[in-house]
Symmetry: none
Subunit: 407 residues, 2 copies
């Protein structure tokens, strides 16, 4: 099956917004044992779309588009395909009802322009959008193209993903062959090149699986793909032993999930005092549903005065130790732990720029963990831009706690 | 000038390696006032490449390819273009010398296969590769395509970037005619469809500009592109008047930049007390360099106890009013403002799921702003998943403050 993906939107041709949908779709297709032969990003131009759709119909069996289903003047994915294929657009009664219900639930009336979203090419099926107003389209065997499937999905990732999983994948599974499974190992506190070297021999022993290393600012993932579940299970057992305490988890979760799960399992709680990360650590934790069972909250103590008024650090102490220092991180961790009555307190100070501050060089970060057995702290130094430093600091803090919780 | 980019390599169609080259190239082109009308990623298949190159020659004035210039069996970018255009491949003496010198410097002899890299289509120019062995190609007015330019670059980002900057950009600068400029209007607190309707007539009056609407969870952007600066300026004046207080700003910034700039201009400060957003509002603000000039910090008061211990809200008040309520948001805003001595205090409570909490339905959010003239508050209700609710809540809070700062 020759499959291509077309991402629609002028913004995707700039650096302002990138097409991440096709990456996600590529991953989902791979799990079905399928893959793209081509990916295109194209602007909201009726002429460009028409040309591209005509070409795609001549070369691909499955065409997946994302974007161009909205209510505005520059959305015309359905119109273009309907034109080319000589099909009429007709209002789909169910899509109209869904839209009215969506607005009614918000005590609003749809703007007139939105009704165009309920138009579906004759002969195609509407794909319901449970989280937005633009339905998608599944069009099997469009006029003159027997055997071809067109899938039109919204560009909003959340809507696209949900519709793909619930409505497109079941239809494709019927068409596709052997299922491919993925083993995902998440590793913390280890650079990508180190993980590459440490696992090379073991990966060679499991060469029948397809291996990938994916590094981000906060963790490294080792992925193995294959259709043989027993082989994946054997790899899991071997790699768990090999990675030991560096292994954050196996499966879908990330570092923050692993930390919250361990806290909950132990019936323990966490509070954080953030200077350099300015709330990002708390935000990463509270992004996870159910975080409140283990995460109590914290203080974003961005200024010296906030460290004093919110957490009671004496001004004289801050003047003596500096706002960016190991001693201040320790004091913050201990103060927030005591103030909120948490099992663990994390304190972070550092300098993420734009300039050197309080005598600390750009990129210097101090992280302290206060717990039932006392306080530990570490100094880090990581060049990079502001966002890099802030994000990496949250990962260091979480990994410090994760290791303490594994002990 | 119609420009397209073709990234070549089967790995670019998987999740293993993404085409970041075209993103970088898009940025460099934008600086020249140029932009892509299409971007494609395609596998190392001679048939697919041939088809794509033929199409590209019919629709684009400048075709930039990355990849497929290496010595191996699956590299044939130059061969494909030479075939299609009926040109011979000839050895380029300078490219052969460069390759010999590259290997000599490493005390090695080039493998036989590498000599194929010195082959260049007759009529084209070689682009020297100072950091690798694959030269690129600049082909102006290839046979039958007068006015077209082909640029073939290696896929290795370091090599591609250096060759682009040193050899391609100077050639393009001579060609680039009219520069294209962008007017970016950022709008807050208004849904995309509303903005579409409100601006339709005005956009029609300025139809010589190319218009795009970009919606995210936190703001909507209206973009106009054109080469006539006076026309863009006229549009700016008209749209500023039309959008009034809904206009967050013109240019590069976003909602959080606008808020911080206004605070700094007024010499005022902000503190936040976050329950539902769990630190995300603070993180959005502190992601901006220099935020500390106006943002003092805040409290992530995720539990009732934290609201009491960090900000002094009486437990009896919380029991009476509920942790998710307009009254509690107001009390939080006032408490954090007083505690940190800030000009403005924002308080956010709400229920982002997973379950209904404290009597508040999923999606209910209360935002309060305490300031020099008292406290205002608003109730919102937005279904969506946890991340959506949290992100939208930060935008509502920032927009509430932005409007107060404009008054």
């Amino acid at each position: 099956m020759r499959i291509e993906c077309i991402a629609i939107g002028t913004e995707l041709l700039t650096t302002r917004r990138l097409d991440t949908n096709s990456v996600w779709l590529g991953e989902r297709l791979a799990a079905l044992g399928l893959g793209f032969h081509r990916k295109t990003a194209v602007g909201d131009s009726r002429e460009d779309l028409g040309q591209l759709f005509r070409e795609a119909l001549t070369r691909s069996d499955l065409i997946i588009t994302t974007g161009g289903l909205g209510p505005t003047f520059d959305d015309f994915t359905k119109e273009c395909f309907a034109d080319i294929l000589g099909a009429e657009l007709r209002e789909d009664a169910k899509s109209r009802e869904d839209m009215l219900a969506f607005y009614a639930a918000r005590k609003r009336v749809p703007p007139q322009a939105n009704f165009k979203q309920a138009l579906i090419p004759a002969g195609a099926e509407a794909l319901a959008n449970p989280v937005g107003t633009a339905p998608g389209v599944w069009w099997a065997d469009p006029p003159g193209h027997s055997g071809t499937r067109l899938v039109m999905l919204p560009g909003v990732p959340r809507e696209m993903k949900r519709m793909w999983e619930e409505q497109v994948e079941p239809r494709l599974r019927a068409l596709a062959g052997q299922q491919v499974h993925t083993l995902r190992l998440v590793v913390g506190g280890v650079p990508e090149s180190n993980l590459d070297e440490r696992t090379r021999e073991a990966r060679e022993r499991h060469a029948h699986l397809e291996w990938t290393i994916l590094a981000s600012l906060t963790q490294v993932e080792l992925l193995a793909r294959g259709s043989d579940l027993a082989a994946l299970e054997a790899a899991r057992v071997e790699f768990e032993a090999l990675l030991g305490g560096d292994l954050v988890g196996v499966g879908d979760g990330n570092l923050e999930d692993a930390v919250l799960e361990r806290l909950k399992a132990r019936g323990e709680t966490l509070a954080v005092a953030e200077s350099v990360t300015g709330g990002l650590l708390a935000a990463r934790l509270t992004a996870i549903p159910g975080a409140s069972e283990a995460f109590l909250g914290g203080a974003t103590v961005y200024t010296a005065a906030a460290k004093t008024t919110l957490l009671g650090l004496p001004a004289a102490f801050l003047a003596a130790e500096g706002t960016v220092s190991e001693a201040t991180s320790r004091a913050l961790a201990e103060a927030v732990r005591a103030k909120l009555g948490a099992t663990w307190g994390l304190g972070l100070t550092g300098n993420a720029g734009p300039a050197a501050e309080g005598g600390a060089p750009l990129g210097a970060v101090f992280i302290a963990l206060a717990g039932p057995r006392g306080t530990v702290s570490k100094a880090f130094n990581q060049p990079g831009d502001r966002t890099d430093i802030q994000l990496r600091s949250t990962a260091w803090a979480l990994d410090l706690l994760r290791r303490a919780l594994s002990a």
